[in-house]
Symmetry: C2
Subunit: 212 residues, 2 copies
């Protein structure tokens, strides 16, 4: 719910920011208005989260701007509610097989697992493209040669905030993160895939007001 | 700016939704409250955009929910404020050269132009990967053979809404859109590139309250 602040409400915010805690009476005095005239404005500013009030102390500024309050909703979204299914290949697979999996499953990133299902690497379209312009036969190169290898993997967990995961996608310039959970032994099991496509869908859903 | 509605405000909304247009007096009667008691609530609901009022008619429901109002800000963002620079190759370039450009410029999508700079095709990493596992020499295949070709191109313009562009990325399952403008002659000139990375950055910026 967005609301436009009136000039008087902006003025009240400035006063409280500079001089809070301050009582309603004192604010009214500064504006040469009655306490009753100010009441709706103070109610709005308090309900909106800009101001807070303590009995016998007065109003103080919460430190939150309008946009901060507006975006808190987005900040609470979790990875688990927006992830896709992961597509995995074995570390013994050939680069050729991996490329086929990528086309067959229509994904941009494959996760590589060992014989126990533990995550050992990640393959991007870029990794496969780089390998494919080399001179070797793609059937004879195992993916373990060209993959990005544990422990140099950027991962997320299902209860991570989506904004945290999106920031990793940007910071590490990657298209997808494996969503992992710790296995009994050391290492991670892959339980999902979070991509820039998931994030793009999310923004469209937010704008169309379809998300929970 | 987000605000929590009180139970009384929710009640007022329900009444106006069902019976509006309705005067403040009538709402007060229904709630067995005085008009004065209701004034701050009606002010809040009106300023927040839930209700509107016409003189001598009364209050009516605007049809906007809280989340709709909250997301109107996102809906107003334009492509031009979030696009990247385009990377183009000539239609006579070889697939090998295109792959090199893709790595050199570190982009996932190339735009193909004719000798007049007119957009004639688009190359994705997937297109190049598909070509590279074929049996032909990559140096000898021109990109015009493997590119997605005009008029089957999905494009956007700099004044398009970002949500409209993001929806195209999802609907057509592509990683990037060329941002185009019409040339004097028929056809488009490429002036930018809008990618899922741009959209992911935008969501992070919105959450961190860094966007305009």
């Amino acid at each position: 719910m967005t609301i436009e602040l009136s000039e008087r409400q902006e003025h009240i915010l400035t006063i409280v920011k500079e001089e809070g805690p301050i009582t309603g009476e004192q604010i009214a005095d500064k504006l040469s208005l009655t306490r009753a005239t100010l009441r709706p404005d103070l109610a709005i500013l308090t309900m909106a989260g800009f101001l807070d009030a303590r009995p016998r102390v007065g109003y103080y500024f919460t430190g939150k701007t309008g946009s901060q309050l507006l975006t808190e909703k987005i900040k609470q979204l979790k990875v688990k509610d927006h992830q896709s299914l992961p597509v995995v290949v074995k570390e013994s697979s050939s680069v050729y097989d991996a490329i086929c999996s990528m086309f067959l499953e229509d994904v941009g990133t494959l996760f590589v697992v060992d014989s126990h299902g533990k995550l050992v690497g990640i393959l991007s379209r870029k990794d496969l493209l780089r390998a494919s312009i080399g001179k070797q036969e793609l059937e004879s190169i195992p993916v373990s040669i060209i993959m990005t290898r544990a422990p140099n993997l950027t991962v997320c967990e299902k209860d991570d905030y989506i904004i945290e995961a999106a920031s990793k996608l940007i910071e590490f310039q990657i298209d997808a993160l494996p969503v992992v959970k710790s296995k009994d032994s050391a290492g991670f099991e892959v339980v999902g895939r979070l991509t820039k496509t998931n994030i793009t869908k999310l923004l469209v859903e937010i704008a169309n007001d379809e998300h929970e």
